[in-house]
Amino acid sequence: MAEGENEVRWDGLCSRDSTTRETALESIRQIILRKTEYLRSIKETLYRPSDEFSNAVSLDGLNKLLAHLLMLSKRCPFKDVREKSGFILKSVEELGIRVPRPLGHGPSRFIPEKEILQVGSEDAQMHTLFADSFAALGRLDNITLVMVFHPQYLESFLKTQHYLLQMDGPLPLHYRHYIGIMAAARHRCSYLVNLHVNDFLHVGGDPKWLNGLENAPQKLQNLGELNKVLAHRPWLITKEHIEGLLKAEEHSWSLAELVHAVVLLTHYHSLASFTFGCGISPEIHCDGGHTFRPPSVSNYCICDITNGNHGVDEMQVNSAGNISTSDSFFEVEALMEKMKQLQECRDEEEASQEEMASRFEIEKRESMFVFSSDDDEVTPARDVSRHFEDTSYGYKDFSRHGMHVPTFRVQDYCWEDHGYSLVNRLYPDVGQLIDEKFHIAYNLTYNTMAMHKDVDTSMLRRAIWNYIHCMFGIRYDDYDYGEINQLLDRSFKVYIKTVVCTPEKVTKRMYDSFWRQFKHSEKVHVNLLLIEARMQAELLYALRAITRYMT
């Protein structure tokens, strides 16, 4: 059995030309059938123990193919591919081979599958987005499927991500994915790590690096420290960090490379927040996304269990929701009322300067202690901790000890005036892309709130954005931080805090317990605000350090 001819090429499927896809699928079909036949023949002939190993290897190879095919049958934006790959799976099953089936409940564990757009029922604009994304990556990941609640943002997001990972830039491709892995591993986000491990190998990265950061080149190891500080305590970044990276003799980074790396790190830190914040399920073709076991055994995926989500059945959630319907109905009403009040009586009750300053300090200090009570250690599905060093360094440590976060005044260094110029100077076009993304995320609104229409939500959005920046010590002189207390209740703050600072601890309970009457799309919207605000906060600290280094 020659390995060469059995090499499966998936890239033909990404073509927009249906005949190309057709031929690619046909060749995949033949390869799979050949492998299946081969396995069957081995089974039927006399059992020889020496073959066991090679047998297992080829079975493993086939299973990988089948899993990929399963993913295609569910997630390919092209109808013909979906149907055909489903058909192939069926025919393999008929031959007596065990085929996989998807685990979990759709792209997100928090959002019922029926709420999420089904591939195939999207409108033209979304289809274009899907096709673009599929053509670029050869897959339609769960993040995309959840973000498509907000297609306008998704478009900008995909464009930026595509540029960062695949277009012109100072860093080689495998470095980019490796930095993505480093950043995601910092938050133990096995979902992103898995995805990028595949991509990393695909672009020709050295598999040895994946055994741990100490196996990667010194240059990337040097980045570990920045990654750590940036993810958990970005305010501690100084120009010494930058200098250390730029002046490391043969392992030194160039300024352009560093900016690229910083953008990638912040992008993946915040994407990890999104992944946990929306409970993104593992991809179907990755570990934990599918099972070969027959359906009767268990209904839960491993991640559900480890996140303490077991026993949370759809039914229970619904009944719980019903009981408190009146309660949560008032929640929305009360929020609307507060917004109205704030709008009206802003001028009347003028807080003194000291009052304003102390409000910020109070909010900042309180944000330290806002934490969910359950602090069970999460064991990641894949051992991701080897991708970073110093596992003990996290946000948790200092929040317990109440470390002081210095105040960063946005009027002195803001994204629009300073950060943008610096990024665009060192990594052309990216400043523009990120700027657009920030703008879309910040200004996105449908003027709705739960069941209400024509609501001006700008105040609420600004409160969320500024609350996140407040947690990072970033202060807007022209904002009254008292508003945050009025608009964001405790369970919401807990959720925001957890998603932004320790995303790995987000549970379905947290997701369900804030804004109970709001739609899932609105909760995803909140997540978009969270990740963009977080990314901007991290970027601001990193870029300020770079600016200080340069002056």
Partner: protein, 790 residues
Amino acid sequence: MEKMSRVTTALSGSALTGRTMHCHLDAPANAISVCRDAAQVVVAGRSIFKIYAIEEEQFVEKLNLRVGRKPSLNLSCADVVWHQMDENLLATAATNGVVVTWNLGRPSRNKQDQLFTEHKRTVNKVCFHPTEAHVLLSGSQDGFMKCFDLRRKDSVSTFSGQSESVRDVQFSIRDYFTFASTFENGNVQLWDIRRPDRCERMFTAHNGPVFCCDWHPEDRGWLATGGRDKMVKVWDMTTHRAKEMHCVQTIASVARVKWRPECRHHLATCSMMVDHNIYVWDVRRPFVPAAMFEEHRDVTTGIAWRHPHDPSFLLSGSKDSTLCQHLFRDASQPVERANPEGLCYGLFGDLAFAAKESLVAAESGRKPYAGDRRHTIFFKRKLDPAEPFSGLASSALSVFETEPGSGSMSWFVDTAERYALAGRPLAELCDHNAKVARELGRNQVAQTWTMLRIIYCSPGLVPSANLNHSVGKGSSCGLPLMNSFNLKDMGPGLGSETRLDRSKGDARSDTALLDSSATLITNEDNEETEGSDVPADYLLGDVEGEEDELYPLDSEHVHPEEPEYVLPQEAFPLRHEIVDTPSGPEHLQDKADSPHVSGSEADAASLAPVDSSFSLLSVSHALYDSRLPPDFFSVLVRDMLRFYAEQGDVQMAVSVLIVLGERVRKDIDEQTQEHWYTSYIDLLQRFCLWNVSNEVVKLSTSRAVSCLNQASTTLHVNCSHCKRPMSSRGWVCDRCHRCASMCAVCHHVVKGLFVWCQGCSHGGHLQHIMKWLEGSSHCPAGCGHLCEYS
């Protein structure tokens, strides 16, 4: 009123004195403003608000306006402005959205006068009316501009920019009621202060935020704007549409812009990020700043001309906590350091070159470097009388005219089109290409092809008549190339050996031998004066008359020996390669072995580095006779390709690379190959040889090159009815729901390949149109156009 104020200011500005100086502030400054009397300046920042007196030798702190025990955000200033009519009146914009006015005439320590808390967000800018005593304007992050009458407690009117944030507001100096505002989304709006309902005019000035604007003090309606897109633009607002008059490209985002008094075309700018200098530009010369002040160590945040009628004093405040007074005469002038040079190609290949006269003179003195001969090979040089160049420096203008025919690249186009690169056996390809080259009169290239054939196909089977034939007809074209190559690459000693060897191969008499070594000497001399620039000059073409004079070798003498001549050269570069380039050690090692095996007795001789020309000769013959495997030549072929590429004939290098394929590819490192491919493709595309370039891309094996065909394969189509881009499908427009591209022949929608006439824009299925035009020359749509299909 206006007149009066101008008179008063003009009077007080008669005698300004001072020097370039700076003083340390306690904190970074955000903005500065000058008092009307030009003797005081106010500095404002997050934690500083002070008035300094400008004295002859130094700044003297006069007043600290930050009083009170507790720091208040009201004092955290984003901007400050001093009234130009009233010396006691100041206004600041606070980062928390408060506008504060200050009255220096108040007897108490606290000079704070009024507090306007109407803005919801940071106020970015405040501006007093230039002639009205009580009118103050503010622009804020919340997207509103407010006009205050200082005699009242709150704003008189509010202007909504319908946008995220206002970055700058400026009253027009000449038009009483007009003010301009700039926005973060790139727009500039003009307002009439009496009409708060909507703006008079709006246009997009920059890509990204417009940080600042300034009205011209003299010219009515001139507005300068500066933006994050690193540009300063000057607009003429007097016309119906705002017209962009000048555009200055800076190196960083523009934070402030201020017209220079008394100098109509000058303005000063400073940047918000990265660049710390202040520049003064002459907007008519947008590439080099007229003056540059380099005192600051961090970004400059505020600039102000000290007096509205004195162009020589500039004040600036910076994030590095200093306040500076710059004197124009102390500024550094980048123009002086620049070497003004201009270079331009004419339509027919003429080249004009202008440079500072002193430079040209100096250069012509250095013979070995520039060498006039370089030009005269191709160009006649006419030195025009020196022309004055905008009064700054006199410069020399040289025009190099192309001699008729010599600059023509028709050989390139012909060669590219007629070469066969693949699809036939190697021998045929070589023969074909040799024939093409010969027909175009490029005999050296033709020879090379023939030799390649000999090396890689059937050695020795090429009739010698064939060679002689081509030689007999050859002009001197290829010859100088060979000469310069020899001398450069092999050094004089080696060169003479090959020369000897060459003549021997030709079986000439001793006299001939002497002859050629004699020429060699003259050549050597030439080379030394020439320097290394020479080969590139030859590339452009078939140089005739003069070449023969320079290299008076007779052509018969040189050409026939080329096949032999290449062989002896082998022995030396081979060893050099092994030592010098460790890039491909395995291959080279292999090749180094092969001669040892095949030419056994030649071995010893070739190992001895330079003994005598005669021993070398015998070696060469031995090698040639023993029919070496083609591998043996690969180093030589590689050198040959390198040589062609270095000469600029990258066409030859790439063609051979493609034709020989695997046989030579491994000897040349990927990067070089890629470089050749890309330059050749670039050339082809410049000559519009799209098909050839595509073929080359297809045939290339370099990954980076072949993926050129994969990039940007999307074809963007606009709907033929509504002219909007069609995003989802190429044939149905989403907006007007019509099928855009109908076939003129079958009247169906074209979903695949669509061909259309560029004359009448009718078209349809490729097949249909082709068929139609076989039978008729008129457009199938019946429009009467005579379509052409090529």
